[in-house]
């Protein structure tokens, strides 16, 4: 069964008022971008830049590079819109593209500046309260953070290193000084439990 988690809306919503949309849906927005309408690009940026930047910053670890990658991704869509709405939500597409390109950048540099210990807190639940006036977005984040908080720390850490760090399982095993099989099992169980936990929350 697929998760029935609603796709998060553009995250900039939390910081700026959203004007009434002039686009009926994502297809309409994509069509406007393909027609090279600058307003559509501005709309796309306003709604999705926070998601792209947050993820790029998380992986690349510094603001200039994250902003550079963010611009590359939005300008890439402007020059050649490769997103196909029939394959999933735009936010998921942007997250996939951002993560992949950020990790490609890390690998091209051969520069893993951050060490494991710096990753340990990154997927930990955020103790600061989420603004109540953005309940929809914050509820989604809280659901994910709660599900992550329910995972054993090892599972969470391995998922974090694998997903955001782009480390192979053998690199993680080496750095954590654990057998490869253990690391693989933690990652798999972590993902399965995360899904089950989110499904349980959706059923409440």
């Amino acid at each position: 069964m697929l998760l029935k988690v609603p796709q998060p809306h553009p995250s900039s919503e939390e910081n700026r008022p959203i004007p009434p949309s002039q686009y009926a849906d994502t297809n309409d927005l994509v069509a406007a971008i393909k027609r090279q309408e600058l307003d559509a690009l501005g709309y796309l940026f306003d709604h999705y830049s926070s998601l792209v930047y947050t993820l790029a910053y998380k992986i690349l670890g510094n603001s200039p590079e994250a902003e550079d990658l963010m611009q590359e991704i939005f300008l890439g869509l402007w020059e050649r819109c490769t997103y196909n709405p029939s394959r999933g939500s735009l936010s998921s597409f942007l997250a996939t593209v951002t993560r992949s390109r950020a990790i490609d950048r890390l690998r091209m540099k051969g520069n893993r500046r951050r060490i494991i210990s710096q990753w340990q807190q990154s997927l930990s639940p955020n103790p600061s309260p989420t603004p109540l006036d953005h309940a929809s977005q914050s509820e989604k984040r809280q659901a994910l953070q709660q599900a992550l908080a329910e995972l054993p720390k090892e599972y969470r850490q391995v998922l974090d290193l694998s997903y955001f760090g782009g480390y192979s399982q053998s690199q993680i095993a080496e750095q954590l000084d654990k057998p490869l099989g253990t690391v693989k099992t933690w990652a798999r169980k972590g993902l399965i439990q995360l899904r089950q936990s989110l499904q349980a929350q959706m059923e409440l």
């Binding site: 490609d104 399982q169 899904r195």
Partner: protein, 306 residues
Amino acid sequence: MVDPTPHHRFEELAAGYVLGNLDSEEMAEFQQLATEHPDLWEEVAGLQETLDLLPFALTENQPKPSTRAQMMQAAAQATPIQHNAHPQSQRPWGKIFGSIAAVMTMALGLQTVYFQQQLAQVRQELAEQKSLMASLPSTMPQTAPRNVVITTTDTFVNQNWQGVEQILVDHRKSLKKGLKAVDIPSSQPMELAALLRAQAPMPSAMPILSQVSFKLLGGSVCTFGKAKGVRMMYDTEHHGQVSFYQISRSQRPELPQLTSEKLYLAIQDGPGGVFWSDGEFHYAIVSDLSADELKELTSAVEIVES
């Protein structure tokens, strides 16, 4: 009939697949199960969806406000890229292959004997190479296996290795279609692998063609008999369009008994290919190149962890 596969095993393999951490035995088991139980793909999609939600758990950061104006200015100045069909797609393949087929049909009687001998010779050579590899001291690197080159014809391939023929036909079709043959356009291998992973088996350690002059155009899911795979299309500066296939191992369609040794098939007047296997997947690079050029091309193969 009761399904002998416990659900937790099903789930574990699907999770390992999504995470890209299946070993070769597990990958074979996964592929077998996916063939027998297509609903395994639904399990994969659900777990992939869960993994894709991780970015939304992050506490938000905002870019500098000035980045919006910079981007809008750059977009206003950018000239939209026109994507015309690749010139290679204009090649008259149908005509060329029609002529070849006519000539080959006439010559088949004589050639069959010759090629059967050649095939036997190749098999012998492969056996000798395996024996040689096995006899090497364990301290010697085994990463540079010898290559095998066969010069043959389209007809011979069709008669002996339907799988190879299907791959060659798929390549020719993709040449005709040009960029339309690319379902998912992307110039980033990692990105492309991530987008293809939920639709088809992808190796966790993925070979790519890495050379500055090679441009990755994108990829598509393709099916050969019972085997599912992906086709990555590259545009090379001097050698035209190249198709790079990664296909899950299967009894059908029939392929040569592939190993990590590279098998070069130079096909008279047609596109040639290099084929090999890593135990989990079959790989094929097909292009309109000579065997020597293909060797040069495969020297650009690099393994990346996806």
